[in-house]
């Protein structure tokens, strides 16, 4: 009997690892090995045409002490991340509205998600031009509403360029958040609500007591996506502002990319990548702490 259980157990373990293997392999190839490569590179003077030399902390010193663009882009990236909750909040409201039994909710859901399938480069082009000073729609609306009397060059102004980029990025990812949250909402057993209704809990109470706790995993997922977005937004910044004017829209990733490919300082870029990685991992870890338990788990007993 006991041995039987053991055998079952080992069979199960084999199965589990067999199931994990392919994904792990891919991540090893395209995430972990490159990261290690970057780690090594960041302590070297590396250059495709020359023999490699040991650099010690040379690049880190340059980056952390002298390179204010690095700090600027780190700050921007954090701001972009901090803007994730706005998007998630909006998405949550929409999800809750769509989750009701109103007619045509399917249509609404569809429309809200429509923005996500759009190629980010295209999103960049579209918004670059919605924000345009002369022919842009936003300026047109603002002017016809009489709020302003001449076009605002959103993407050229130090103060407005970055918010504009953030708006575009939220626009793009909103539908995605909503879908995740909606899946979460739909997975909350109706019985809980019924029970709560019997206890005579109001809508708000129900939200606080049931919906929100049950949604935590989905919300966490949204946060992770938001964090990822704050560097996958590369294409967006790249198309809309190229990081300008004077680096106010520079993100870590755009700066890393530029360092590597226009300044051909791969070693320096590698150092920044490492810092970037550590930064994000810490954040993810914190988020995970905040939302308790491992990502995406719906807690048992429901």
């Amino acid at each position: 009997m006991n041995t039987l259980i053991k055998k079952k157990r080992t069979r199960e373990l084999i199965l589990i690892w067999f199931f994990l293997a392919p994904s792990l392999a891919i991540f090893a190839l395209y995430r972990i090995i490159p990261l290690i490569w970057n780690g090594v590179l960041s302590f070297q003077f590396w250059d495709p045409f020359k023999p490699t030399e040991f650099a010690g902390l040379y690049h880190y010193e340059e980056m952390l002490i002298y390179d204010d663009v690095f700090w600027q882009s780190l700050w921007n990236t954090s701001v972009l991340m901090a803007s994730a909750p706005i998007g998630i909040g909006l998405a949550l409201i929409i999800a809750l509205m769509v989750d009701t039994r109103i007619r045509g909710r399917g249509v609404y859901r569809t429309i809200v998600f429509l923005s996500y399938p759009v190629m980010t480069v295209a999103v960049g082009i579209i918004w670059q031009w919605l924000f345009n000073e002369k022919v842009g729609l936003i300026n047109y609306v603002l002017m016809s509403l009489g709020i302003i009397d001449e076009g605002i060059p959103f993407l050229e102004s130090f103060s407005l360029a970055f918010p504009s980029v953030i708006v575009a990025s939220i626009w793009q990812v909103l539908g995605f958040y909503m879908i995740i949250l909606l899946t979460g909402l739909q997975n909350i057993p109706q019985s809980l609500y019924e029970a709560a209704a019997i206890d005579g809990a109001g809508a708000w109470k129900r939200f606080i007591r049931i919906t929100f706790p049950m949604l935590k995993p989905s919300i966490f997922l949204c946060f992770v996506v938001g964090i990822i977005n704050s560097f996958t937004n590369f294409d967006l910044v790249y198309v809309m502002t190229q990081g300008g004017p004077s680096h106010v829209t520079e993100l870590l990733i755009t700066y890393i990319y530029r360092a590597a490919f226009t300044l051909s300082k791969f070693d320096y870029a590698a150092a920044m990548t490492v810092v970037n990685f550590l930064f994000f991992v810490t954040l993810a870890w914190l988020a995970n702490r905040l939302f308790g338990g491992d990502a995406g788990a719906v807690d048992e007993g429901t």
């Binding site: 020359k50 002298y66 060059p153 590597a260």
Partner: protein, 417 residues
């Protein structure tokens, strides 16, 4: 009996097959050419390849084309992987980094060897803008440099005749031309295209030995202050310091800009957008002091190439005589070859009379070229300098602060390895 027959047949068949299988195939030499966003030149490129194939039947040319913003990503990834394209068409200062690190082939001996048959045909001034530490790494592919376009109608309205002759004229004119929707002056700003504005104030970017920054002078501060003030007042359009290509050219084509500093390709582009533009409605001149920044393209050869000689032959075909003419006539640009340009000017006279005056400016005052310093860290210097200049021009910092900060950064870039 039958079995023997079958076996013999089989044997024969096998033998034949074997012989056919091992029939000698001649080794193909492959040369790859990486162009810089000229996809609409495909037809011309095929013509070149045919011509080249005729001379070198065992060589095949691989034609690659990448848009400017992805060009360096692509090239550098290929370099790292050891599959660098043999011939590359490069713009601006990007090549200096590669040259300084020894990634490019020194063409000086080749140029010497073909002095009579080829080199003599090229403009020395454009050829020399591809020299780094005494070695010539590139041959001019197609050339362009900045000039001043001005809107005749707006000039008339403002009671102005003819282009400004000095920096202060320029700003004064800009002031007169601006108002409401309209602004007086605009410039392209990528690479160093705006540098003529500094040069006409006697500002030097580097010390003669190119080891230190030399731009932080009272003259420079004064100039930047004037420019910033003009920008604030709207005489100079803000887009000058932020837009790249589409916005400034669109603005001029829309007829709301008095003067635009741009290089010759801009004219064709704007003409397509603004049909009103022709030799009567658009004035063409050199910037005050005849200063201009080249924005030329050159062909360079990767050090890693297996067939430097062949690559060189192809580069020569593409940059001289008929080859150059094909390029110029389909891109509507001038080339580095005097011979080809003669024919090209005739072609423009016939097909695009409006562009003739623009093209003329491109080969004048070649002694006044600025913004093409052979500094290995060109790109990094740009990164360090321009954002600070932007800060000053857009009124985020005072000119002095900005230039001080820029000087510190530039010197740091130059001092670091």
């Amino acid at each position: 009996m039958r079995s023997t027959i079958t076996t013999t047949v089989a044997a024969v068949a096998f033998a034949v097959a074997a012989v056919l299988g091992t029939s000698p195939v001649q080794a193909e030499k492959k040369i790859s050419f990486l162009a810089w966003n000229i996809p609409h030149f495909k037809a011309g490129a095929e013509k070149w390849m045919k011509q080249f194939k005729a001379k070198y039947p065992d060589v095949t040319i691989e034609w690659l084309d990448k848009k400017g913003s992805e060009w360096s990503t692509y090239y550098q990834t290929q370099v790292v992987a050891g599959t660098a394209p043999d011939i590359v068409d490069v713009q601006g200062g990007l090549w200096l980094e590669y040259a300084s690190k020894g990634g490019l082939l020194d063409l000086t001996p080749y140029l010497k060897a073909d002095q009579a048959s080829y080199t003599s045909e090229l403009y020395p001034e454009f050829l020399s803008s591809w020299v780094y530490e005494g070695k010539n790494y590139g041959v001019p592919f197609y050339i362009s440099k900045t000039l001043l376009f001005y809107n005749q109608a707006m000039f008339k309205k403002a009671g102005l005749s003819g282009p400004p002759k000095t920096f202060d004229d320029l700003l004064a004119y800009a002031g007169k031309l601006s108002g409401g929707e309209k602004s007086g002056f605009m410039t392209l700003n990528f690479d160093w295209l705006y540098w003529s504005l500094m040069a006409m104030n006697g500002v030097e970017m580097f010390t003669p030995d190119l080891k230190k920054a030399a731009f932080n002078t009272p003259a420079a501060v004064a100039a930047v202050e004037k420019l910033a003030a003009a920008t604030k007042s709207g005489a100079i359009n803000k887009i000058s310091w932020t837009g790249r290509w589409v916005k400034p050219n669109n603005a001029f084509a829309a007829g709301t800009i008095g003067m635009l500093q741009a290089h010759s390709p801009a004219f064709m582009w704007m003409k397509a957008k603004g049909p009103w533009m022709n030799k009567d409605t658009v004035g063409v001149a050199q910037m005050p002091g005849n200063w201009s920044t080249p924005n030329s393209h050159a062909l360079l050869i990767s050090k890693s190439t297996k067939y430097p000689k062949i690559a060189w032959e192809f580069a020569k075909m593409a940059t001289s005589g008929g080859g150059a003419y094909d390029l110029g006539s389909s891109l509507n640009v001038l080339t580095g070859s005097k011979v080809a340009n003669k024919k090209l000017m005739a072609y423009f006279e016939k097909n695009i009379p409006d562009a003739v005056s623009v093209m003329k400016t491109q080969t004048e005052h070649l002694d006044k070229l600025v913004g093409n310093w052979p500094v290995a860290k060109d790109a990094a210097v740009k990164e360090a300098f321009y954002p600070e200049l932007q800060n000053a021009l857009l009124g985020r910092k005072s000119a002095k602060e900005a230039l001080d900060a820029a000087e510190k950064k530039v010197n740091r870039v130059l001092s670091r390895r």
